[in-house]
């Protein structure tokens, strides 16, 4: 927990630094007729840095006092979380190649088989029916197109 707290506080300082640098570039004083573009972000960055610094200080204090910290995640939580996150990232990347609905079909099938060993019949049924349904709903009915990817248009020419 402490490490995560520390990491987030440092991340916030990093973001604040990026913001302040750009704000300085844009100018953060009073311009010709009103605050310059960087005015608002500059002060945002400053306040954010102060907050993160206070957070860091209190972390340091509790570290020195040897205050025990709770676990960030319960035992063995890494595994299910990684199982949610990594295949989802995989699906996003695959979308760039073959389009969202095809990637989703692969993702659904993969997840169902790999984590819960769902029967092949159910797996195939769901990973084909759900994307098909959503494809019809979105593309044909609502006219909201989804990414086709590099090869998607050629794989499924409808």
């Amino acid at each position: 927990m402490k490490k995560a707290n520390l990491a987030v506080a440092l991340l916030l300082i990093g973001i604040a630094a990026l913001v302040i640098v750009d704000a300085v570039r844009l100018g953060f004083r009073w311009g010709d007729n009103g605050p310059e573009s960087g005015f608002f972000p500059f002060w945002l960055g400053v306040i954010l840095t102060i907050c993160a610094a206070i957070e860091l200080r209190s972390l340091l204090v509790s570290h020195r006092k040897h205050v025990p910290s709770r676990r960030l995640m319960p035992e063995g939580a890494w595994k299910p979380i990684a199982w949610v996150l990594l295949p989802a990232v995989g699906m996003a990347v695959t979308t760039e190649l073959v389009g969202l609905h095809v990637a989703a079909a692969l993702y659904l099938a993969f997840y169902m088989r790999a984590t819960a060993k769902v029967r092949w019949s159910t797996t195939l049924a769901i990973s084909i029916v759900v994307p098909a349904f959503l494809y019809v709903l979105l593309d044909k009915l609502f006219m909201v197109p989804m990414p086709q990817g590099l090869w998607g248009g050629k794989l499924l020419p409808f």
Partner: protein, 509 residues
Amino acid sequence: MSDIQNLAMGLGVALQSYNLLVAVVGLTLGIIVGVLPGLGGANGVAILIPVVVTMPPTTGIILLSSIYWGALYGGSITSILFNIPGEPWSVATTFDGYPMAKAGKPGEALELAFLAHAAGGLLGVVMLTFFAPAIAEFALKFGPAEVFSVMVLTFSAFVGLGGKSPVKTIASIMLGFVLAAVGLDIVSGQLRMTYGSVPLMGGFNFIVAVIGLFGLGEIFLTVEEGLKVDGIKVHLGFRDIKAGLKDLMHLKKALIMGSFIGCWMGLKPGVATPASFMAYGFCKQSAPNKEQFGKGAPAGIVAPEAAAHAAGTSATLPMITLGIPGSPTMAVIMGGLMIFGLQPGPMLFKEHPDFVWGLIASCWVGNILGFFIVLAAAPLFASILKIRFAIFMPIIVYVCAIGAYAVNNRMIDVYYMLGFGVLGYLFKKLDYPIAPMVLALVLGDMAEQAMRQALIIGQGSPAVFFRPPIALPVMVLALTIFFWPVITAVRNHIHLPKHPPVRPHPKAA
């Protein structure tokens, strides 16, 4: 009273068959969304915004808000039957709802919850109907300094009353504003914080952020404990309705207290969720049977549920009249309004009264219809969670990805969504509040614009924010609320009893 006339006109719009159908669809979707973890109210509404844009504005907003009412109702179902709160505001329901269900009275527990929701919702809608026009009139007097001061009040409420570490809350708010500022600065035409990267030029869209933070983040939280969904079976019959109504007669106090607390808190931005906890706490304190709470006391269900629904309904009020959303879901709905080209705020009442009153009327219709729908189909909705997690989780992620992409037709938004999901999970675990960050993301541009205009009017002096008659008391109130934790700490310190004088031992002298 012209308010009633306006309401009648609005009802005429809301009860048109198309709008009615849309309301029913929205309510059903909302209940499903409320039942499923990972597709919360804010998230579900956000996903449907790109779809809703194709509809006429009134119909679209009826759909979005019906989802909201449905989610308010639906969150209780899983809290009571599965001990899994489907929504943040239904956490307090698990305290007494689940024990009551386990003790063999799930139907009654559900009845109480739904009736409490309906009552709270009705009170909220009544307030909305009769106070909204008055507040809108008042808000017409607002200039940029006043608008900015109300926003400061909003965020101060999060800091001072939010219950989380003020430093973390402020950091969260700042982060939200920073995210809102990335991209094109409308006033000067310059690119800010894009560092030459093309994707960043488009900035961060609040819909994508909400889907990631609340959707994926929620899923991560749910899986970390491993999902156990062995729920309690329930069969709702008329007997349960009668029993619930009878119980309710005895629980008038809890009901009224809960509803009023909810209404009051819902008006203040950001406190819809804490309203249910507060109502639970108050009810418990003032109840004759305190020990029963936590073991299935009916009042323990009624109070938080009434409060949650009343707060959710009255959160519409500041959104419509002042343009300040009271909760993340309201923020998303407000974003939807803006996409339609309707600027929420006092001008909306003047320029589009048919829209506003149609919306208010649909709140009436939605709350009442929703009660009957959820009553009829609660076991059906509950059985959704019986579908294996391994099946519905990836489907939820798939739908979230669709929602994220549909906003701007960019793949980068899907990646942003994943990033926000991780951020949402981390923030929840580390106790950084997410709601103010979302509000800051939605309001960021407006807040900055108001600040700039006010500073120009005041010629660079911050004193412009403290000008009477409106900005001054609002800012004073904001600062008071902001420093509230400090004030209470100082007060406690002063009132600490001094050590009693030490009497010398009789034999010691």
